[in-house]
């Protein structure tokens, strides 16, 4: 699957959320999308899923079956879990039994008879995950899937991701908490400054020019401004501020990971 010169904004005069993004997503790959809140991660996921269409540029080669789990599963619907999953299974033209089997695997069988409105946040996230997996996805998109999940599902999720990937599906996970950092072979895309940069050496072709410095991206730009040539960066850098954050030594790794996932430059002192 390939994004070529993709730009997106929500209205004709609105700011560009993403600008001139080129990305390749290969079958079987796992990508973790990071970036600050509001950087455009969810918009990128929606473009990949085919929920919104690019304002400019094109998306080619999207697999026919896309599984999408939203950041917050919408429980405000007048169905039981079982009835909801049966409806979603029919929309995907798969047997309603698929939902029951997945629910059992994720320890959610007891939820099936409950109204969606009675679910806790973690249980609702599970239902969101199950509906995304009803048909074996060629592209699985999970928006902040770890939020609110119980330990069992949190442990199960990387296995599920691995299964989808080894079955030839691409998996894209937006992960603010950087939970997939230990996942073997996972690539990382950083969304910042309306651009997407690959952080793992597998650089997207056109964004590649920026990717070299993207590991320590310039922060504080408006989202409506395009990534500019290097010449302008000096001016931007002068606007940086240094904040000293003092943490327990035990937590240092975790805090640093989180800040880096959010696209900030960190420096460690003893």
């Amino acid at each position: 699957m390939q994004l070529s010169g993709v730009s997106f904004r929500y209205s004709r005069r609105g700011p560009w959320v993403l600008r001139n993004v080129d990305l390749d997503l290969h079958a079987g790959s796992v990508v973790e999308v990071t970036g600050r809140n509001g950087a455009g991660k969810s918009t990128l996921l929606r473009l990949l899923a085919g929920i919104v269409r690019p304002s400019r540029g094109s998306v080619a080669g999207r697999p026919p079956v896309v599984g999408y789990a939203p950041e917050v599963f919408p429980v405000d619907q007048p169905f039981t879990v079982a009835a909801y999953l049966a409806h979603m299974a029919r929309a995907r033209r798969v047997s309603p039994a698929a939902g029951t089997a997945l629910a059992e695997r994720l320890g959610a069988a007891r939820l099936l008879g409950l109204p969606l409105g009675d679910l806790s946040k973690g249980s609702a996230q599970k239902v969101g995950l199950i509906q995304a997996l009803l048909a074996p996805p060629g592209l699985l998109i999970l928006d902040e899937p770890f939020a609110g999940l119980d330990e069992q599902t949190r442990a199960e999720l990387p296995e599920i991701i691995e299964e989808v990937a080894s079955g030839g599906g691409a998996v894209v996970v937006s992960d603010h908490q950087n939970q997939l950092r230990g996942f073997p072979g996972a690539r990382r895309w950083l969304v910042a400054d309306a651009a997407v940069a690959a952080l793992d050496g597998e650089r997207p072709p056109r964004a590649g020019a920026e990717a070299g410095r993207a590991a320590y991206p310039v922060i504080g730009r408006n989202g409506d401004r395009a990534p500019k040539p290097d010449a302008e960066d000096d001016g931007e850098r002068e606007r940086h501020a240094v904040i000293e954050v003092i943490v327990d030594a035990d937590e240092a790794d975790e805090v640093e990971q989180k800040l880096r996932a959010d696209g900030y430059l960190t420096r460690r002192t003893a």
Binding site: F8, Y68, A69, E71, F79, A91, R93, G128
Partner: protein
Amino acid sequence: MIALVRFKLAAYARSHRLLQPAIGLFVMMVIFYSSTVPPGKELASYADSAGLLIVVFAWAARGLLDTEPPAQRLVSATSAGGSRREVGAGLLAALAVNLGLAAVAVTLPLLQGFAAAPSAGDLARGAGLHLLGLSAGTALGALTSRPILPSPAASMLALFGGYLALLLVSLTPAGGFTVPVMPWMRAANAGTLDGILLPITAATLFWSAAGAAVYVRLRRTRP
């Protein structure tokens, strides 16, 4: 896509949102048919009903399209294989609900309201006018639904204001640039509906299709 239409209809029926336009419909029916329509006036009565129920059809369409939470629309779009199908399923479901309401509006006076049964031709014309009314109403409802107008106050204002504007403009010489509601009511009352049936059908379908096309276009960036 049909599975998604059924899902949307099931959610709508269970959400009790259908009650609002249903009550609106029955209030209008009571007003229209509280005194018996004399023989020969059935078509005029149908024409008024079709024109005035546009606002009820719009309300029902808006309610149906607003039933799904925004995040569920994203899930539905991916389940159905693309946002176009989700948008299409929403419009089809809204049309289905309005077909049901229109069927009630056409059938009810046959049981209670008309002094004599209308001729088959007038019944067909009456049903046809209700089809025109529901197509205009569905488009108006879609254009005032939450993805397009997120503020409920603005949406209600646009729905009722849009309907009133449509009625008023159709009274003026600029009436050719809107759904010709008043012309069809007047022609039916004067017994000259057949003479303008073709142009009013074409104009109504054109404006309804234009409204639906704008809705579909706007939904491209408003998932």
